[in-house]
């Protein structure tokens, strides 16, 4: 385990800070990546408010809410695991990282079930899409956003699961300590960000049009 910093750093503390800074720069690009999608959604929702409200009522809010709770809980487990990895409590930290990755798998499974339901209800744009009434065109737009945004987000979750699995294994082997824990911290930042994006997607996809 690298208890000495790489040659370009003064000390491990600086190396750790640079790793975190690098992850935040990457996450800033991710904000703009998802931001472009959200801007497109917002403009079309502004132009077709009734159509978006009606389309959003066709989403599975029970699955969406459960999935949000699952991601929030997995984020909590990761934050706890990172704090334990720093204390040197390797076994429990590894277990918590693995549990968070498992919750990520449950999230993807539920998402798959949700897609299956939407496929059965003919809500997949471009593939036997059927939506009755005057709002069919804007519902098409809504579900295009829905599948692209949740699909890209699911890809992020899948990558995050693999990252957490690797971190769990390395934690189990005692790779991290109070002095050296940058990979665990940075992987945690990525996972929390995936959670943060979902919080906004949840509000934009599942909540509109519920009261009307």
């Amino acid at each position: 385990m690298p208890e000495t910093p790489a040659f370009q750093f003064v000390n491990l503390r600086q190396q750790h800070e640079v790793a975190q800074l690098g992850m935040w720069v990457f996450l800033a690009t991710e904000v703009l990546f998802f931001g472009g999608l959200i801007l497109g959604y917002s403009v079309y929702r502004f132009m077709y408010p009734e159509g978006f409200a009606e389309a959003a009522r066709h989403t599975q809010i029970a699955i969406g809410t459960t999935n949000t709770a699952i991601l929030l809980t997995s984020s909590f487990l990761v934050a706890w695991a990172v704090s334990l990895a720093r204390l040197g409590a390797h076994r429990l930290a590894a277990l918590l990282f693995a549990a968070a990755a498992a919750l990520g798998c449950v999230f993807l499974l539920m998402k798959g079930i949700e897609y299956r339901i939407e496929y059965g209800e003919h809500l997949v744009p471009g593939y036997f899409f059927i939506f009755r009434g005057p709002n069919a065109t804007s519902a098409w737009l809504f579900f295009s956003f829905y599948f692209v945004a949740t699909g890209v987000h699911a890809l992020h979750v899948a990558i995050g699961i693999m990252v957490l699995a690797v971190i769990a294994l390395k934690t189990r082997r005692g790779a991290y300590s109070e002095r050296y824990h940058a990979p665990a911290t940075v992987a945690g930042l990525y996972w929390h960000f995936v959670d943060l994006v979902w919080v906004f997607l949840f509000a934009l996809i599942y909540l509109p049009g519920r009261a009307s």
């Binding site: 984020s75 706890w80 911290t185 509000a203 509109p208 009261a211």
Partner: protein, 92 residues
């Protein structure tokens, strides 16, 4: 015992679940034009909790917070400029 989760993490987690319940409940109340702003305000509160506590931004120096905020700052400019166009177009 030191393996207990830090209190701030537990309270944030419970707070996040509470806000999730609140946002689902308010979404079903007929508040007209207020439903969407309330949903987005609650989402922003959740995002702030995640960023400040889970992502440990509250313990970071100014440089880290500035870099973390930069993406959101530019996103805000993008949304602002786009909507200053779409919201001021005369209906044809």
């Amino acid at each position: 015992m030191s393996w207990y989760p830090p209190r701030a993490l537990v309270f944030s987690w419970l707070g996040l679940l509470g806000l999730l319940g609140l946002t689902v409940l308010t979404a079903y109340q007929p508040l007209g034009a207020f439903n969407t702003p309330i949903a987005l305000a609650i989402a922003s509160c959740k995002a702030l909790l995640i960023a400040a506590i889970f992502m440990e931004l509250r313990e970071q120096n100014g440089l880290m917070i500035a870099v973390a905020g930069a993406g959101f700052f530019w996103l805000a400019i993008m949304l602002w400029l786009a909507f200053s166009d779409y919201m001021t177009r005369p209906s044809l």
